[in-house]
């Protein structure tokens, strides 16, 4: 069928069905088995049916892929069909008996599949399936064995044409199973699911779900109440008076109210446009979008076309969450992908709102993307710098290790052998002296080699840590040093190396230039940051540009994402401070 004709066709069908239901109800010669029990509440025959069909049509119009709208319409029509129990003709009356409670099954199905139109958990599917079985198969079984005129105390009712054999005992047993056991269990289970759903929902989702969940929950309570009040009448799908009528009319109205609220939300996008034109700095952008979309947890990832990935505003990697409670929407601007919004999945209910927000925020997002891209580049640069330093350090470590395990050990063992030879040459003093001279030459070479190795890489640092390594540095310093260290255990190796070289370089500078009488070295680690300060009381005036040593240190610290400050006023001493993240 042409889709455009669906809405008028359904509307006309609903009008006709409603009219027929009213006619049937008002001309009925028996009151006992009508869907709306009390005559004064018969206005609900129309109200309930039309509101379900009407809001179902709206839901279907908004999202044709969702089954929710169709289910709502089906509730309305099934409700009208239940009015057949009011008919005075035996065939229609009997048909009404069979299908009377079906609308409640469809209602349960619609409620549990709100808002996506599908049953999201196995428990929900099970409850709906059991309940359908309950209101179709068991209901039919009841109709086959129940002489309604007698069992329902309705002498004026037409004949039940489906009656095969009058078995009062069987009929009432079926009714007990159908209502008191399966019916009650399913309704209670559905209530539990609704409560769970509410508790698990995120804040924006709760706001969207609240009207329907609350009114739907009230309906379930009304149904339970009905069963408990009249345990044997429920099989006819009747409602009890005003309360039931109001509760069931409220569900479609609540749904319509939700739709209206979304329309209002869309007007917040208008505010977004104004806000962005006034304060379009990137950090406010998230706030503004989050307000417009009413999702406090909204996140924005910016697209880097070169590396095919998203980053956050600070240029750090941004991973899309797995599908579930969160959903993502790609934002395009000028035909290019620029960003992705990660938002609550409930917002997908209103794609127009997201589209409008993306359009309004497009230009600002494109600007923010440039900033994110720049920061990502800076991060990459810093990481590559850190890698270069690390590779250099590793190479130095390897060289030192090779010297230690190779040349130094061999030379030492040669010196040992010379010593043995020396001992055996006691009777040849000249030769012994020659060997002794060679040995002491060798020992001097060993000492020089050790100093070279130590210069290449301070093995004591990687073997035993900062505290041990710095003690010797402090002892060698030409200016008295006060060293205070406040560290729990060891820092990561690159940071230890940076701190070590920084202290060495600073002490060397102080000794060379500062004419200082004392130096204090303070090293501590708190809140995930390592702090180093080397301060002297010398004449000051140290210049970053003057020494390549300081420059190199600054690079080393920068590579670790740290900060490095030299403060040195003429006559006021010098201080070098570095702060390196070590979390």
């Amino acid at each position: 069928m042409n889709q455009r004709l669906v809405i008028p066709a359904v509307a006309v069908a609903a009008l006709v069905a409603g009219e027929l239901a009213v006619v049937l109800t008002s001309t009925s010669q028996h009151a006992e088995l009508r869907v709306v029990a009390h005559p004064e509440a018969s206005v609900f025959v129309l109200l309930i049916g039309w509101s379900f069909v009407g809001s179902g049509l709206m839901a279907w119009h908004r999202r044709r892929t969702s089954r929710f709208g169709v289910l709502m319409m089906a509730v309305g029509f099934a409700w009208f069909a239940a009015a057949l129990t009011a008919s005075n003709r035996p065939v229609l009356f009997s048909l009404g008996l069979v299908i009377a409670p079906l609308w409640i099954g469809i209602f349960l199905h619609a409620l549990l599949s709100f808002p996506m139109g599908r049953l999201e958990s196995r428990a929900a599917s099970l409850i709906v399936a059991v309940y359908y079985f309950d209101v179709t198969v068991l209901q039919l079984a009841w109709v086959i064995f129940a002489d309604v005129q007698r069992s329902q105390d309705c002498a004026s009712c037409p004949q039940n044409v489906f009656l095969l054999s009058d078995q009062p005992a069987v009929a009432s047993a079926i009714l007990i199973v159908e209502q008191a056991i399966v019916g009650v269990l399913c309704l209670v289970g559905a209530l539990v699911l609704l409560v769970q759903r509410w508790r698990n929902a995120t804040v924006p989702l709760r706001r969207a779900l609240a009207p329907v969940l609350v009114s739907g929950g009230v309906c379930l309570l009304v149904l339970l109440f009905t069963i408990l009040l009249e345990p044997f009448s429920y099989a006819t799908g009747r409602l009890v008076g005003w309360l039931g009528g109001l509760a069931f009319t409220a569900v479609p109205l609540a749904f319509l109210a939700g739709l209206l609220r979304q329309r209002l939300a869309r007007s917040a996008v208008g505010d977004l446009v104004v806000e962005l034109s006034e304060t379009a700095t990137p950090p406010d952008l998230r706030e503004a979008l989050s307000r417009a979309l009413r999702d406090p947890l909204l996140q924005i990832g910016y697209w880097l076309p070169d590396s095919n990935r998203y980053v956050d505003l600070d240029g750090r990697a941004f991973d899309l969450p797995p599908a579930g409670a969160l959903a993502s929407t790609v934002v395009e601007h000028g035909g290019q992908r620029i960003a992705v919004l990660v938002h609550d999945a409930s917002l997908l209910d209103d794609p127009d709102l997201i589209r409008a927000a993306c359009a309004a925020g497009g230009l600002a997002l494109a600007n923010a993307r440039l900033q994110a891209e720049l920061r990502a580049r800076v991060n990459e640069l810093r990481q590559s710098q850190a890698r270069i330093v690390e590779v250099g350090d590793a190479e130095r470590r390897r060289l030192e290790r090779n010297l230690h395990d190779g040349a130094q050990q061999r030379l030492l063992s040669v010196a040992l052998r010379l010593r043995l030879v020396e001992a055996r040459l006691a009777s040849h003093p000249d030769e012994a002296e020659l060997v002794a001279a060679s040995r002491s030459e060798l020992e001097r070479s060993l000492q020089e080699l050790r100093e070279v190795a130590q210069g290449i890489h301070p093995a004591v640092l990687s073997d035993h840590g900062l505290a041990v390594a710095l003690e010797a540095v402090v002892a060698r310093s030409l200016v008295p040093v006060r060293l205070s260290m406040d560290l729990d255990g060891r820092l990561p190796e690159p940071i230890e190396a940076a701190v070590y070289y920084l202290v060495c370089e600073a002490l060397t500078n102080t000794a060379k230039h500062a004419k200082a009488s004392k130096v204090t070295v303070q090293i501590s680690c708190s809140d995930g940051r390592a702090l180093v300060e080397v301060a002297d009381d010398g004449r000051g005036g140290a210049d970053m540009a003057a020494g390549s040593g300081l420059r190199g240190l600054a690079d080393r610290v920068a590579a670790l994402d740290g900060r490095f400050v030299v403060s040195s006023d003429a006559g006021g001493g010098s201080a070098i401070r570095a702060e390196i993240p070590c979390g």
Partner: protein, 212 residues
């Protein structure tokens, strides 16, 4: 005597030298664990342990040395290292310097000194490398109490720190024991340290003072 060093050349070299000097080598080891096992099995007087051994080549030797001292307090431990570090000496000698030595590996070629150090450690004394001691004495301090110490007293102080007893100091400086005792009393007076005659306690006291 057992020798633990991961270099085969050095292990053999050191043990030959020791045999030459009249020591008896009862076991060789190439890792810290082996060294510990050898000590268990052979109960040597002294274990000579290289500080840097497999698998991590960082402080296995140090750990083995501490383990040996904890489990076998009567076995002297002489730790050898390619480099000597003040901080490490302090860590090693932290509580108890008795039966403990820490020497630069190169010292082994000076057989007399090496043998003297082994004997001191074996007899429950201490041996601290002269390089460490000179690092300590050379350190600039803002409260320079060492200024009042005479050059001769400085020599005595250095030898005390290395772990020599008064008798040994007297032999080395070719003076009488009485003279050494006089120097020692004067030094402790100037440094305001409580007098102790036990040579390894003296090492700790001097070390602690010089590091402060």
């Amino acid at each position: 005597m057992i020798v633990a060093d991961d270099s085969l050349l050095l292990r053999e070299g050191i043990s030959r030298l020791l045999v030459e000097a009249g020591f008896q080598v009862v076991g060789l080891a190439s890792t810290g664990e082996e060294a510990l096992a050898q000590v268990e099995r052979n109960k040597p007087d002294v274990a000579i342990v290289d500080i840097r051994m497999p698998p991590t080549h960082s402080d296995e030797g140090l750990k083995a040395a501490q383990e040996i001292r904890a489990r076998h307090p009567d076995v002297g431990v002489l730790v050898l290292s390619q480099y000597v570090e003040l901080g490490l000496a302090a860590r090693l000698l932290a509580e108890n310097a008795a039966g403990l030595g820490y020497l630069l590996k190169d010292r082994i070629t000076d057989l007399d000194e090496f043998a003297a150090a082994i004997r001191r450690v074996g007899a429950g004394g201490s041996a601290l490398d002269p390089a460490v001691v000179s690092q300590l004495l050379g350190r600039r301090r803002d409260d320079d109490v060492l200024e009042h110490v005479t050059p001769r007293e400085r020599e005595v102080l250095a030898l005390m720190a290395e772990g020599y007893s008064n008798q040994a100091i007297a032999d080395r400086l070719v003076v009488t024991v009485r003279a050494v005792e006089k120097h020692v009393t004067s030094i402790f007076d100037k440094l305001r340290l409580p007098v102790t005659t036990d040579s390894h306690r003296r090492v700790l006291a001097v070390l602690a003072f010089l590091r402060s």
